[in-house]
Amino acid sequence: MRDLLLGYGLFAMYYVLVVNSIYLLITIFSHLNISSIMKRSRFTRYQSLAGSERVPPVSILVPAYNEELTIIENVRSLLALHYPQYEVIVINDGSKDETLQVLIREFGLIRQPHARIRNVVHSSPVNGIYHNPQYPQLYVIDKENGGKADSLNAGINLSHYPLIASIDADSLLEKDALIRMAQVYMENPEETVAIGGNVRIANGCLIEDGIVKEVKLPDKLLPMFQTIEYMKAFLGGRIGWSSINGLIIVSGAFGLFRKDCVIKVGGYREGYPGEDMNIIIKLHKYMLENKQKYRVAFCPDAVCWTQAPDTFRILSSQRKRWGRGNLKNMLEYRHMLFNPKYKVMGLLTMPYNVLFETLNPYFKLTGLLALLGYSWMDMTHAHIVLVFMAINLLFGYMLTVSAILLEERAFRRYPKMSDLAKLLGYGFLMFFGYYQLGAIWRLLGHIEFFRKNNTWGVMTRQSWKVETRQS
């Protein structure tokens, strides 16, 4: 029994080493690629591009469910973007609160009884389309509740432009975020099928009129941990993955897509969370099966600010949902795993995702338990548990330091020396409870999936004004 436990514990240790080594490799790609991003970011004149008629027009889709507290500021911030031609389509997904009413009141919207939308991708029945010629760029679709993917599909059906951008209703876009993405798109419009934006945590920042006026790190523990977590995922991970065209997800909070490609793959998949990962997998699959040259790019200087959950209840609900979405996507596209036809996606991204995202909680938790059991049987080998934990911690922290280094090299959003100390300190603290909780929540998400629980879960918002006052 002892040998079995030890063997499994060692297997788990090597698992941690292998998975983190792959992540380290991706982070190295990120470091290699960051200078190219810095060049574009520093030396491109976005101001002149923002006034050009050659920039392709964009339809911004904003799915909204019970967003009465944040929707007005969000829409106002979107209507003030520096972009030559765009429209904002808010999709009220059968909200139970006053989301639709506050929009109607604020923007003087009028129901268009004869307005119809195309049916290029499936979506739930639409109750009405609202518009006011005084805000010619703004449309609101009121539809029956069908989930986020369904709302995005309804938005696609109404949209008038060749590019679509999906934005969460609780997020704020920086004024030049969209034009920065347009520059990336215009560098290679034929091959670019999607571009991901960088999502940053707004908790703690000073926000006025839907604009982040002063960037500060969050004061609360959970948003602070998520700031570091997002930094690791977006800068350490996604820059690297995109450099080898292996990006598996474009965050639902902010992404730009070629509409014709999204329609070709049947739009967003309804019924399950993880629609942001699903659409990207479908795009990869479609392009590779049809032997078309393509790229899924990432634009880290196109920034979207979002509210991070600041209670355990909401955070656990979000993480369980992510767990369910990830598992569903991996099961649905398991045939792509290790299939050379799907190139980087099939041979690296998907296997890595299964190993690191889907199976991670199982191996890490059971490995730790096995070594604890082994040590309990023979206390003279208790140090093995410590070695296992030290490897986990040190490799993980090395990746944290690397992500902060990327931030400091390229973006410098947190200017003070105390910010750096805070990032390094909290980055270390995360290994004592937060990551373990994350693994448990992911596991619970999987259980929910097998019990066929597909609800969105708890997600309460607070007004940006309240958020700013609290900070």
Binding site: L6, L10, M13, L17, S35, S36, I37, M38, K39, R40, R42, F43, T44, R45, Q47, S48, L49, S52, E53, R54, V55, P56, I110, Q112, P113, H114, A115, R116, R118, P133, Q183, M186, E187, N188, P189, E190, E191, I384, V387, F388, A390, I391, L394, F395, Y397, M398, V401, S402, I404, L405, E408, R409, R412, P415, M417, L420, L424
Partner: protein, 388 residues
Amino acid sequence: MFQHLQIAYGFICVASALIVSGVVLLLVIKWRNLRMARMKDEARKKQQDYVAYVIAHLDADEELKLPVGPLGKWDLAVLEEQLIELAERVKGKHRERLAELFERLGLPEKELARLTRSFGVNRLDAAYKLGAMGCSQAAPALLSVLKTERDEPGRFIIARAIARCARDTADLREMVAHMVALSPESPRLLAEILCESAVDPAPLMREWIEHSDWRLVLVAMAGMPSTADRELIGSLWKLIGADEKEVRINAAKLLLRTGDWVTPQQVESLIKHPDWEIRSLTAKSIGRWADDSYVPLLSRSIDDENWWVRYNAARSLAKLGDDGFRALCEIASQAKQKEIADLAMQNIQDALRDESTGSGQAGAAGAKTKHAMYHSYFNTQRAGHMTG
């Protein structure tokens, strides 16, 4: 077991060393950045009055004076940054005056030396600055740097600098030829870059529109809006039959920019074109021309198989005065398909609302006529409620 532990201990040592190095590096970078920011801030305060003087005297006739006293390293760097920021915002005479000032400050020479000496981000920084200064002596060096740049975003930055520094169309031609060979899918961005040049790109556009390389044709068409002329109509008609769909669509877009460039027969052929994009563009353009002789043509397009053609035909009819409005009323009252009737009705409502909110006597008269027409077709006395 022992062997596994040895590996683990080895890893722990390596990881710890890497973490310590990373943290030290971070601290050094942070300290350096903060120091640089402080120095720049101080220099900015010192240069504040001089920059204000430059802005105030951009329109004056006399030569701009140089800053008083010697400039330190940081002073010069900050002044350069601020003047470049200004040069990016101005055009014509103002930009020329700033170019003179850059010259007298010795900045183009300094950046040219950096361009040839350095690599990576520094080289691009020099290229960008030379472009912003509009330094024509830098064009040959920038062209040779472009040929060695392997990074795609970097190439666009250098290409833009070349456009800003170009001495003549030959420089622009060489730059575009190189860019098209390496980044063939970005004609719009290349056109955007070309239009930033002080050298008129129109002769190049005329040359490329007839070119056998469709990638150059696309650049020419994307660059047209500011340089197009009637002489190109013949070439554009030829391109309507090109093999590349993108070329056909762009040619139609340019031809349809004004109603004067096409005859009614040509419009009819375009609205029956096999590409739905061209049919849709034609339907949309007619609305912009506000030529009511096309009402019958648009009324037929409302039955097109493509949704966008139907949508644009209905919207354009609403813009074609009383005749267009009448046609919409007929379609809404007689259409067999609900979708088409709804499309027409939506545009009728929009037109009624636009007339109601229109100002002056003409607006009031137009609203009255349209309301009367609406009553006659739909037999209602409360047309007003439809406009909300």
